[in-house]
Amino acid sequence: MKALRFERKAGKYVAASIAGRLGAGKGAPVGPLSLKDVDEPELPAEGWVRLQPRLAGICGSDLATIDGRSSRYFEPIVSFPFTPGHEVVGSLEDGTRAVLIPVLSCVTRGIDPVCPACEAGRTNHCGRIAFGHLEPGLQSGYCEDTGGGWSTSMVAHESQLLAVPDALSDEAAVMVEPTACAVHAARTVAASGPKATVAVIGAGTLGLLTIAALRAEATVGTLVATGKYPHQKALATSLGADQVVAPRELGRVLRSLTGSFVLDGGQLTDGVDLVVDCVGSEASLTQALQVVAPGGEVLVVGMPGHTTLDLTSLWHRETAIRGCYAYTRPDFDRALALVADAGLERLLSATYPLSRYTDAIEHAATAGARGAVKVAFDLRKPGR
């Protein structure tokens, strides 16, 4: 079968890292990712089934990996070679469709008894992601044994499957996984009570979905988002942002909104109750710390990496930075409903066959500038 494989090749990783610095998505042609004819992955144990991907999205974390920007933190919790792709809607052998819940928790690894986090239903906090009868891998798409969505066949544990209603298109279903991330963030926010003022940094896929999820799942007052491009601003507004501004304008807008003063360097004296950082870069985190109110929280939804931050304000203003990774099963259930209710399939902008993977990845990496949001591989036609 055809699959995109990411192999552990140090030289190619360096080449990807250099190319990725020259341009987003440029790591694909020169890096460790390549299209190959490979054997289908074997079913690891009972309870596993074969899943034929129909659509598989390209995520920001995938792009970071391909462009050599991922943290070495991941090395012990992935296994090579792996087939990327964790935003997957696929067909099962009985012809039904399912969305993949990619977290590889204790149950999928045959670990019994399961770890305390999995016991509590917090599978995204699983403490055994490098152990059990599977090779290490925090999710399908990063594990040698499971394969991934960027192929014509992968395996999935029954606990990883979420049935897709007939009324939901593939284009909508492929948005469920990233929406579940956003729902998880929104439910995390909701758990700490209403928020009068919220800023969402970033209006890529994750940012837009987070805006929609915050409106659906949490009680937030004024929501200000950043967006670089006109289509992002329009979508953010339609999904529930009260105001969408250019990133450089955010500090001034939040200053005005919160009646804050400004210290030299741009630090607001007050600020918003919550900043949801859907970018995770040094710049976005720095900005988040500048505009969050004393005692407020920065929720990091976008995947960060090595970052240099001045945390003095965090200490002085008693602000919190909290990570927000993946989802739980209930998040997926809510995400499925939100995708349908909010018409989130409109965020899928383009699909590509595997054979054009370099184009697909470059498109995904430059989605904002090209008027796009989500880019995916379309594996439904034979030979794709």
Partner: protein, 530 residues
């Protein structure tokens, strides 16, 4: 004998016309047979003896006792003076304010008055810097009063130093500087560069608070001021006159001093002098000088060009000084202003063109940001008429200016937010006023910057937009030639890269073969449209 302003009908022999374009210029050929150019009058003869004229005005005021008779030992005297927004460009030293204030102070000293304060009547404008104050009042006055805290900027947000004097019959609240209100005599020193300035507006606006100013600096007033340069047809002035009555009824005695200056903006020699000449009268030396200036400017960075232009000091001549009661003084001042500025014009035009220069009242020593471009074009220049607007209703205004997306971060902080937030939301003055003004006007940060830094008040960009509201309502389209496309679009206007492109775009609105009128300002002119 200086030649008055006049209207030139453009024919095939008419040379290209000079358009101001920010810190640069354009030479534009206007279509023959249907274009006209309104030229300002040449500088009126200046007073030979300015000191003598001042002394005479103070000794023989209109409908008031001589100033010397109003000054008594132990009295409280306040001298207010126009701020850095006047005149434009700033005048060469000595500034007329300095010359007037020195004589007032000499009289006060002779009368034994020792409780004297001098206040820059800046309303909601930014505070003047020490250099700017020194330029306005002179080093001698500054050094004598500023170190003792007796020379300072008016603070329209200082609740401890404002006095509420009452309301007009229209319900307009009148609140002015407490020191001025509680003085035995308030002497107000004006520079009346245009007919909008002076009269009751000097004290009722210049020394007022936001609470008071908001009653006339609003969309309704501006839409009903046709024009605000024509005091008797200006709701802005009617409101100020009503407030002036409240001020007088509250017992505030004002000794008004108004001065007028001529059109000698660019001087009779030097590289800028060519800007005041009529194009067909340019000598070979003028052409060489202009080409050299153009080439030189092109090689300079924008900040360097700005510094050069902002450094220009105009050699205005003083044409009149009148003092005494506000209303007779101001009527006389208007006569002098109109003598210099009025140009009779027959009928309106389909398209009005104007070249916007580098400066307006609110960017002295600063940056002409896009909101100020709008205000200068649609506010000040559009309203330089008496009778009817130069351009017909539904007509097109074409302005030339680079309109950079650039703001002075210290002087115009609320302008940045207005441009980024408010204009991104709506361009409609009424909607802006209803939805956004209060938030900006009462913003504590802007208030802090206005009071302690050199920032215009938070509400000031709103006023700039309101200043253009009459024009916005009147015009069918506004086109900016040579502007930053993004900034022009944010203003809600259309961009054109050349004047001919702009004419073609304008024809979509006003039809083919439109009539065109170019308002050749500066130097200043005011069209008396029949």
């Amino acid at each position: 004998m200086p030649r008055p302003g006049f209207v030139l009908d453009v024919d095939k022999s008419t040379p290209p016309i000079l358009f101001h374009h920010g810190e640069g210029f354009r030479l534009e050929k206007l279509p023959a047979g249907r274009s006209r150019v309104i030229y300002p009058g040449e500088p009126l003869d200046a007073l030979d003896d300015v000191e003598g004229a001042i002394a005479d005005a103070l000794a023989n005021p209109m409908e008031m006792a001589p100033l010397a008779d109003l000054l008594t030992p132990g009295m409280k005297l306040t001298i207010a003076f126009d701020d850095v927004s006047l005149p434009l460009p700033p005048m060469k030293r000595p500034d007329i304010r300095q010359r007037v204030i020195e004589q007032v102070l000499d009289l006060a000293a002779a009368a034994g008055v020792d409780d004297v304060h001098l206040i820059a009547a800046l309303a909601l404008h930014r505070r003047m810097t020490e250099d700017e104050l020194r330029h306005a009042v002179g080093d001698r006055v500054y050094d004598a009063f500023a170190p003792q805290g007796a020379l300072y900027n008016h603070d329209a947000e200082d609740p401890d130093n404002l006095a509420f004097l009452g309301t007009t019959k229209h319900g307009e609240e009148v609140e002015i500087n407490k020191r001025a209100a509680e003085s035995d005599l308030l002497v107000y020193v004006n520079i009346n560069i245009v007919s909008m300035d002076g009269g009751h507006k000097s004290t009722a606006t210049g020394l007022a608070s936001y609470r008071s100013i908001k009653h006339h600096h609003n969309v309704h007033t501006m839409e009903h001021s046709k024009s605000f340069m024509d005091r008797h047809n200006s709701e802005l002035h009617h409101s100020n006159w009503r407030m002036g009555k409240v001020i007088a009824d509250a017992g505030v005695k004002v000794f008004q001093i108004e001065t007028t200056i001529n059109n000698d903006t660019f001087g009779q020699d030097g590289p800028m002098s060519v800007l005041a000449k009529r194009e067909w009268e340019w000598t070979t030396k003028d052409r060489v000088s202009f080409i050299g200036m153009q080439q030189g400017l092109k090689r300079l960075s924008s900040p360097t060009r700005r510094k050069i232009f902002q450094g220009h000091r105009a050699p205005y001549g003083v044409t009149s000084v009148q003092a005494g009661a506000i209303e007779p003084v101001h009527e006389k001042t208007l006569e002098h202003c109109f003598d210099q500025h009025i140009v009779p014009v027959e009928g309106q035009t389909d398209i009005l063109t104007m070249g916007l220069p580098y400066i307006c009242p609110y960017n002295v020593n600063s940056i002409m940001n896009p909101i100020l471009v709008m205000c200068l074009g649609l506010g000040y220049f559009f309203n330089m008429y008496r009778g009817k607007p130069l351009v017909r209703e539904g007509g097109v205004l074409i302005m030339t200016h680079p309109t950079p997306w650039e703001f002075h971060p210290v002087h115009h902080p609320s302008y940045i937010d207005f441009f980024e937030q408010v204009l991104a939301d709506t361009k409609d003055p009424k909607e802006i006023e209803a939805k956004w003004e209060k938030q900006f006007a009462e913003d504590e940060w802007y208030r802090h910057l206005y009071r302690t830094s050199y920032a215009y008040h938070g509400v000031h960009p709103f006023y700039m937009w309101y200043w253009g509201s009459h024009a916005l309502k009147h015009l069918g389209r506004v086109i900016v030639v040579g502007g930053d496309n993004r900034a022009v679009a944010r203003l809600g206007f259309k961009s054109a890269s050349t004047l001919n492109d702009a004419f073609e775009m304008a024809e979509d609105v006003v039809g083919p073969q439109p009539t065109i009128t170019h308002l050749k300002n500066p130097p200043i002119l005011m069209a008396d449209v029949k």
